[in-house]
Symmetry: C2
Subunit: 105 residues, 2 copies
């Protein structure tokens, strides 16, 4: 991505989270994870219209962004939404969007 230090920390942070959410497959993954109360989520691949390696790549990105946390033990993966990050993002976006609405023309 473009040189990080051309922009402020808040701009970069917001953009990074938005980027993580910027693909329908990743949204679908998150919704699927959210819909299951338990963490046993090995069947994500079957739900998505993508190859297994592609899904794995999307999971990796979500992991890197901190949106999910997960462990893999041999043939069993266990990914979960990270509620803390979600709370943080919710606040970040809400703040940004609302103050923009209020201060604009």
């Amino acid at each position: 991505m473009a040189n990080k230090d051309l922009f402020g920390a808040e701009e970069n942070e917001l953009a990074a989270y938005a980027k993580a959410l910027s693909h329908p497959a990743r949204i679908a993954i998150l919704k699927e994870l959210a819909s299951r109360q338990t963490c046993i989520c090995g069947e994500i691949v079957d739900v998505l219209p993508l190859a297994q390696s592609t899904v794995s790549q999307h999971l990796k990105e979500l992991l890197a962004a901190g949106l999910i946390k997960g462990t893999v033990e041999g043939p069993r993966s266990c990914y979960c939404i990270d509620p803390e990050t979600f709370k943080k993002i919710e606040l970040l976006f809400r703040n940004f969007l609302n103050t923009s609405i209020q201060t604009c023309c």
Copy 2:
């Protein structure tokens, strides 16, 4: 972008808005627009560390996504945040993020 009809409408919509927000320059533009109560915003280029054509391109994307509205009259441009879209997005994201938090493990 990936085939639109591989995913649901909500996934695509969320991802599209997130994509519009996924670059620090675009966040910076939006913050700058929000910070001015008036719509006379011809000096955005000067505020950003990017070439004029690049900024214009980012503005075009924000316009296409519906985040801003604008008119250009010769040597004067007038871009504004679209508060309606912002409200819509705020709701969309809040809904998605909050229900994810509540239903997850």
